[in-house]
Symmetry: C2
Subunit: 399 residues, 2 copies
């Protein structure tokens, strides 16, 4: 069976419905993937994710390498067993974290100079310091692939350098070209592990490797990167970059630039996208099949819930702040017709009280809602694609 | 139907099995009651408590009066509806909190003097300042009963002064005598609300009022208090005091002193007890039917789980610290034969990792185990009473 199966393409848009087949089950696309960076989707456990209907979740190679370490996870039978999640998992390679968490400490974003003391890039790889304990670590493309095989997700990512937008073009080009050379080394190591090093890996299921398009907000670099990554033997194609998911105009532009070069028979993954429900429509109609975002869980931990009604506040659209005094006496659930366990059982007044009383139960209850909200929206979106009414469904939302 | 039904008395001990009948269902005693001070058992939600088999949970009148307030809870239909817990609830009157949380701020424990500025006691009642925002509040016995009726638990407590052990006997006596006068006023107000003020109360189910024995660690005062409280028309008899549950030798002594005066046809409640699993045996064999303790939830939030095996560490007996490096690679659950959702699904290694990574999911998972552990132990204890093998069951534990 092929990994990715295209089920239906919406007639009036590039929106697609598909299925990814993995040894841990199928993933129906488009799909929202909850983020479980450190082997847990924050505040939840695997039973919660199961009950919400999550199909696939994310882990992070950088974080899991630092803590608890890929050796421990491998020795305990792999990440599925470690976190008791029998369904598909994707790990990001940690490229984004190596650079962003390293640079945060120094507040230095100029990659052109030599001031990024905590992160040293050379042709071979990257030396960085743990944000946990300051200890020195090194990732090469080969190492990042090996650690991901040991962690044992179903889908793993090439090791890339995620470049900011506001740096000189020559640096973006140099980084992109290095990312391409690293992509080839990742592919090679991936094949080598499958053939020569299988004894090392305790979770023997098949692993699929995705390549990542970089090039910041530069059209010709993005096109060049798309062509390159598409030409290689990856199982899927991802779109990386600082603005993806955070600057939606830039995200849409980049998707429009690269779309002509994306192979139709491979899944397309927009990395770190899902700040607003509307963002899903914007990328699905540009041919994206997969996305993940920490916003639903992070906002929940600040007492903010997603709602289906636009709130006409540009920065907080489709959001309800349960901390607000307006919710103090409100006996309604977050959303009247929401089937999530929180809306089925608790009022806004109760959640408002728990937040005010610093009861962490509130954080989980709002997270349950937010994750369900995103999963359910994308499930409905997929159905609308299959029924050739994606545009109408979008109009119901984007008023 | 009577409120309390004695089912069986163990032949070789004072241990009893009974049932409390309430409008929200039966409670089989002896019973461990998880503590949900602020309308939530910390880290859990009502569905969790349901799945653990909790029969009755606690709320706190002091905390709920301050936040969100009894008016709000009453207007939303009462505490059962507010927190979506359809089973029995008991609220403590807040006597303990008014004195302990008030005094904490001043670090003044000498009740004989006039230095307890944050808590002013007079014959009528107590004026205190909120630990939340410093605002001034006043509880009289009448007020504490009215707020509890508005909050709407099934079992409510008389408003008492919980005295420390290390204060002059004359103060303990004065406080105890005042507590007795307040107990009578509580009973009167309780009857008045049932007759005259039912229109005020949105949750019309029957409420049962318990009296509280005080007298610190003074035998003659405890006996006098037991006689007095037992002579009144309370639905149950509680044992209060600073040392109850914290100084087990004192707790056992006090129980032995008061036992002859406790009416057999009313439930006996040891307030704030359950630090160690063995404590349950010590009080159940002295005729106690109900107990509550924050230890199972508080310890869980520090990464400490209860286990069935004595650890021979006096301060940490029957406990496993999941933060310890020894658990880092341990693929076993907290307890091999535990049926709790945490032991059914997760290893010590995973919980250790989540704690180290500051994932709050860990706090809930360990809380689920600890609460289940206590509920399950007391369920088994009840069965052993019914089968006349309580002593043998105790021996299995107390090695």
């Amino acid at each position: 069976m092929t990994f990715f199966e295209l089920i239906h393409k919406e007639e009036t848009a590039r929106a697609r419905a598909g299925v990814m087949h993995t040894d841990h089950g199928d993933v129906e696309t488009p799909v929202f993937m909850p983020v479980g960076t450190q082997a847990a989707v924050k505040t939840l456990d695997s039973s919660d994710l199961e009950s919400l209907g999550a199909q696939i979740i994310l882990g992070n190679n950088y974080h899991l390498h630092l803590r608890p370490g890929e050796e421990l996870i491998n020795n305990l039978g792999g990440l599925h067993k470690f976190m008791n999640w029998p369904h598909p998992i994707l790990t990001d390679s940690g490229g984004f974290q190596v650079f962003s968490l390293g640079l945060q400490k120094e507040k230095s974003v100029d990659r052109g100079g030599s001031n990024a003391k905590l992160v040293e890039i050379d042709e071979e790889g990257v030396t960085f310091h743990s944000h946990v304990d300051g200890s020195k670590h090194r990732f090469t493309p080969e190492k990042a692939i090996e650690t991901q095989h040991k962690i044992g997700a179903d889908i793993i990512m090439a090791f890339d350098e995620c470049t900011p937008d506001s740096i000189p073009e020559e640096y973006i080009r140099a980084a992109m070209e290095r990312t391409h050379r690293w992509a080839e080394r990742c592919l090679e190591e991936h094949k080598k592990i499958k053939v020569d090093k299988t004894g090392l890996i305790k979770s023997p299921h098949q692993k699929f490797l995705f390549g990542i398009i970089q090039g910041s907000n530069n059209r010709s670099l993005r096109e060049e990167s798309a062509k390159f990554i598409a030409s290689k033997d990856f199982d899927g194609i991802a779109l990386g970059g600082e603005s993806v998911g955070y600057n939606m105009q830039a995200t849409k532009d980049i998707l429009d630039w690269v779309y002509p070069f994306l192979p139709e028979d491979k899944p397309h993954y927009a990395m770190g996208l899902g700040l607003s429900p509307l963002d899903f429509f914007d990328v699905v109609e540009r041919g994206v099949d997969m996305f993940d975002c920490v916003a639903p869980t992070r906002l929940a931990r600040h007492g903010v819930a997603y709602i289906s009604k636009p709130t006409k506040d540009e920065d907080n659209n489709y959001r309800l702040n349960l901390n607000n005094a307006a919710q103090e006496k409100n006996s309604a659930p977050i959303e009247e017709n929401c089937a999530c366990p929180t809306c089925q059982n608790y009022s806004r007044a109760y959640l408002h009280h728990l937040l005010g009383a610093n009861e962490i139960s509130a954080l989980r209850l709002i997270t349950l809602h937010n994750v369900y909200f995103m999963l359910n929206l994308v499930r409905k979106m997929r159905q609308s694609i299959i029924e050739d009414r994606f545009r109408e469904f979008k109009k119901e939302w984007d008023k």
